[in-house]
Subunit: 338 residues, 2 copies
């Protein structure tokens, strides 16, 4: 159905439209891509491409622009992923170096990705699934209140306020030692199980303080931190479109909804490959004028979480995909190392 030349034309239309932001006509195409055929021939091919649904005309006397289906074909078969420049690689290295902890890695990565792609970047916090508990600490703040601190093997630290109910320092220390003895080295799932059992065989002198603390711990271990995302590059939405209310507003709103972003990333990412969702392929309606380029990240076998970029369907897919892939790899490496 689509011979080589038609594919070339489609590729040219996508490339040209992405860089010029204007519908592209047959004459311009022949000139800019030296196609060795006449505009009339190109027109015939374009008519076919339009009939097949790969391109469309905004209005009768305008050039063609790619449809979502056209972008899809481009991404699947026509675009080769553009490797990052040396400067970009170096920028990534220097920017990520010196990250303090997991949260810092995520924050840096999201800003970096936004900067490279000049679009809106989203990074999900790493999941705890393949992580183990490293340390539990109880810190009294006053006679009545204190802090429960949980450290896991990825270096993540969580805390929750707890009621001490007037327990002695010895009791607090005993409980801490007990919790460490029981929990350290366990995965979250195992820990939840262990905590349930522990509740039944708490030493008598630790009953009072132990029960509420275990309840808090239960909640903390059972909650997945990968239910959070970081976002950056919102100002880049300017480049998006000129129609503020119909196009940008819904995107802005979606970006403030963690739940939406999580579902989106979850649907698209989750493997270490870079994946693309174009326009209407997104199930979330307000983002159907939008494309999402996403990837899972983590060590090579075990996907920890997802990250991605949101931009107009009219985006430079090869570059964006390269950037997403690069950042996903770097963030994975940094998480393992540091």
């Amino acid at each position: 159905m689509l011979d080589e030349r038609k594919l070339t034309i489609l590729r040219a239309i996508v490339t040209d439209y992405v860089s010029m932001r204007e519908p592209v006509g047959s004459r311009a195409l022949v000139e800019r891509y030296s196609l060795d055929v006449s505009p009339a021939t190109v027109r015939n091919d374009m008519a076919v491409l339009e009939e097949e649904g790969y391109i469309t005309q905004p209005h009768t006397s305008a050039g063609r622009i790619p449809t979502d289906k056209g972008y899809r074909l481009f991404v699947d078969r026509l675009g080769q992923v553009k490797p990052l420049s040396m400067a970009e690689r170096r920028a990534i290295e220097t920017f990520m170096a010196g990250a303090i902890d997991v949260d810092d890695i995520v924050r840096r990565a999201v800003r970096l990705l936004a900067q490279i792609t000049q679009q809106v970047a989203i990074v999900q916090y790493p999941s705890l699934s393949s992580v183990t508990i490293r340390h539990v600490e109880l810190v009294p703040l006053s006679a009545e209140r204190g802090l429960l601190i949980l450290v896991n093997s990825s270096g993540r630290v969580d805390q929750r306020p707890i009621e001490l109910l007037g327990s002695s320092a010895d009791q607090v220390a005993d409980l801490r030692d007990l919790l460490n003895a029981e929990l350290v080295g366990l995965s979250p799932a195992k820990a939840v199980e262990q905590l349930r059992q522990l509740l039944d065989r708490l030493p008598a002198n630790l009953q009072l303080i132990g029960q509420p603390v275990i309840a808090v711990l239960f909640d903390l271990v059972g909650t997945d931190p990968s239910m959070q995302v970081a976002v950056a590059g919102v100002p880049n939405l300017t480049r998006f479109s000129d129609q503020f209310d119909t196009t940008i507003r819904p995107v802005l709103e979606a970006l403030e909804e963690q739940v939406v972003l999580l579902r989106l990333l979850g649907e698209v990412g989750s493997t270490a490959e870079v994946k693309v969702r174009i326009g209407h392929e997104n199930s979330y309606e307000p983002l159907q004028a939008t494309s999402l380029v996403a990837s899972g990240y983590g060590n090579s076998n075990d996907i920890w979480a997802n990250l991605g970029v949101v931009g107009p369907t009219r985006m430079d897919y090869p570059s964006t995909m390269a950037a997403v892939r690069a950042v996903a790899r770097y963030i994975g490496r940094y998480l393992v190392e540091g």
Copy 2:
């Protein structure tokens, strides 16, 4: 110079323009505010107000709109702060209740403020100046690496990765006990001093591990967390203006710059009173189409940090000021209590 009636007219112009978003003419003014004089009289007064720089005409055949100077007069002398509705008070209480820790309080407050004012809210993280160190913990993650955890009396928890350099578990425990003995109860300033001394009298067996850990601690204690801000309500910028590029873009960009926001808040807030910066009164140029309503928050004597709202100069100052004041009070109270 400005008699009672002229002030009334100015107040009416501000009120009307804020709610209607259209230049207001003499006829509309007389009708909507039953001024008991004719439009012609109002016109004379408006001519004076314009001469004095309180109002201006977008173009010859349009009504008047307030200038920054007009808003300033309105805020200083004409607008009485509108008390919050019962529903709003209750919303604040339920929304703030159940906050887990300091960070959570800040996050909730900023979303709340954005929701009430329907504008962009900014909350600075509380300063540590009146806070003391509560606990220091060292958690080994592997033979070589570990985590330094610092808990202070406000319930804030910070962590940093550290090198363990193959120290034994006993050495790590000894160092932890030493650090706790030396630092707990101290203010950040005192702690920095103490750490400097401690470096010189480290027991021989703790030299190797102690020095890098103390360096990290030094950095951690010396860094003020109030150098961070939380932002919410960015989608509300839609309401801002119809000119995206000239008006909204610079604001979006400023909102991603923590440094800018901090300086802004610092300049305006810092007392427990609600203060207003209108349009060009802002020293930061990209925000000169913008007003900032800000206040310090904390316990009554001791200001911990600032919070505020960014919106168009054409904003409902009485309501916004009331909301900022209320949230500042609640957040202060919650920080003290929990």
